[in-house]
Point group: C2
Chain length 296, copies 2
């Protein structure tokens, strides 16, 4: 059983892991905290950007010798493959960590991941620690990885009877909150959701032709380009096409203001939530109502 | 069974009801859509502000004669009491509505609310229609009404080792999203969360002395003043006092930036989520990580 200190460390690891959202794809946003033998925090780290060091390596670098005999608390199973960086399970073994707590198992490891290698080397490994809480950050990556297509969000505005693209200022605010990797434009261009000044973007994609291409084929291609979280932008046709194919995971709909008067209301049409979607959140912005919906 | 059109109307009613969040207390934020005999939308309305017309009355005013023989779709059981306005169930009867769909029953009616009166008058009434979805808007009001204290949110910032009040710009953004009625300041003043230019505020409260008063007594007094949703502002002592008394329903914690370097990370302390809270959401703002947590 994890101790209270270890649970607090996992929550810290989950919190800092969110720093990588929208930056790490196709890698997952992971966080890690190192505790020494007495349970003191001696290092923490997260994966900030594809191609840079993984969370465990950053956390171990901060801990230095103090990791010896200590515990690594990490939101995703440490990797067991030689990619751009050496496997993280080896870094943990080299640092002399005696105990590893993991929230979410890596579905790509197929039981042959870092956890089993660590156990074989005599390290105590606990898995599923605060898994639900870790999925608040890792969920979209996990879904995209297991489904082979990006998680798709369709944001739109209902203005009178018309369903329109979200204005830029709202889209910018939503992008930050939704941590999307990329935006599919109505002309078929796939662009970064939040341009990253630190390095090359993740996108080296051919353009999509959304008027001709099947949504599933377009998403497979976009996934192949490294995108795990996608926003649909532009006119309603694009979103409706993906939604009717069952390929929209989340809707963010803004309803334009309704002005009360002594005669009541002018009778806006229904807001155009497509059939098969349920409201998961509803709130008020400064001038519009914002509704989130997911497939039933 | 509600039809597809009726379910869409309920989702519309839920969406527009959110317009009232933070404005209607101690009344609930309710929405209503009127369908005519053929199922066409002929009116909609919501409760915008305490003392003004209820959702059903606004929707019926928009519908006019077209409500005759039609259906009222409403997020909360219509009221059965003469307050500042006549009972809504009477307005529905006077308009000749034949069918009423309700998402959430009013706990204050104790079985003697509008639903039973409508049924006695021969109207078909269905309850619990998309109740979970309606609770995305009505949930805090319902919790506050049944518990006798406001729903309490504690927002804070973790800056190094210190837990601080949220800066004004973040607090303003959060207030809009959280739809709080009021803010409890560290000096004991209770102020409106979002000043309303349209009318007198809901707050005519004596000041609280949070250094002396028990949190439960303070909340009872604030509830008595009409507040159903409260933000704790100011230094950490205030929040920690309420949290340790089990009187915080939601935490919104911002973690100040962690700057990666080639040496790893400087080792911030754990973020100070109080024991007994679990992460329900984690995301990235433009410069900070934002973590939401609720009691376990």
């Amino acid at each position: 059983m994890p101790s209270h200190v270890e649970l607090a460390a996992m929550r810290r690891a989950i919190g800092i892991s969110a720093t990588g959202l929208g930056r790490t794809s196709p890698n997952p946003p992971v966080g890690c905290v190192i505790l020494d033998q007495e349970g003191a925090v001696v290092g923490e780290g997260y994966h900030l950007r594809k191609g840079e060091a993984h969370a465990e390596v950053n956390a171990l670098a901060a801990a230095g010798d103090r990791a010896q005999g200590g515990t690594a608390v990490v939101t995703l199973e440490p990797c067991n493959h030689h990619g751009r960086t050496p496997p993280c399970r080896q870094a943990l073994l080299d640092a002399g960590v005696h105990r590893v707590l993991i929230a979410v198992m890596d579905p790509t490891s197929r039981g042959d991941g870092g956890a089993s290698v660590l156990r074989d080397a005599g390290v105590t490994v606990e898995t599923g620690v605060l898994e639900d809480e870790a999925l608040t950050v890792l969920g979209p990556w996990l879904t995209a990885t297991t489904s082979g297509r990006p998680v798709v969000t369709w944001p739109y505005l209902v203005d009178g009877t018309a369903v329109r693209a979200l204005p830029d200022e709202l889209l910018a605010a939503e992008v930050l909150r939704q941590h999307a990797d990329a935006i599919l434009r109505p002309d078929g261009r796939v662009t970064e959701a939040v341009p990253d000044s630190h390095g090359p973007g993740i996108l080296h994609l051919r353009d999509i032709n959304p008027a001709v291409e099947l949504p599933a084929a377009a998403l497979k291609s976009i996934h192949g380009g490294g995108v795990r979280s996608l926003l649909l932008s532009g006119h309603a046709d694009l979103g409706e096409r993906f939604a009717s194919a069952g390929l929209v995971d989340r809707i963010v709909a803004y309803l334009a203001p309704v002005t009360p008067s002594s005669e009541g209301y002018s009778g806006l049409p229904l807001p155009g939530l497509p059939r098969g979607f349920r409201i998961t959140a509803a709130g008020r912005g400064s001038s519009m109502v914002r509704v989130e919906a997911e497939p039933i």
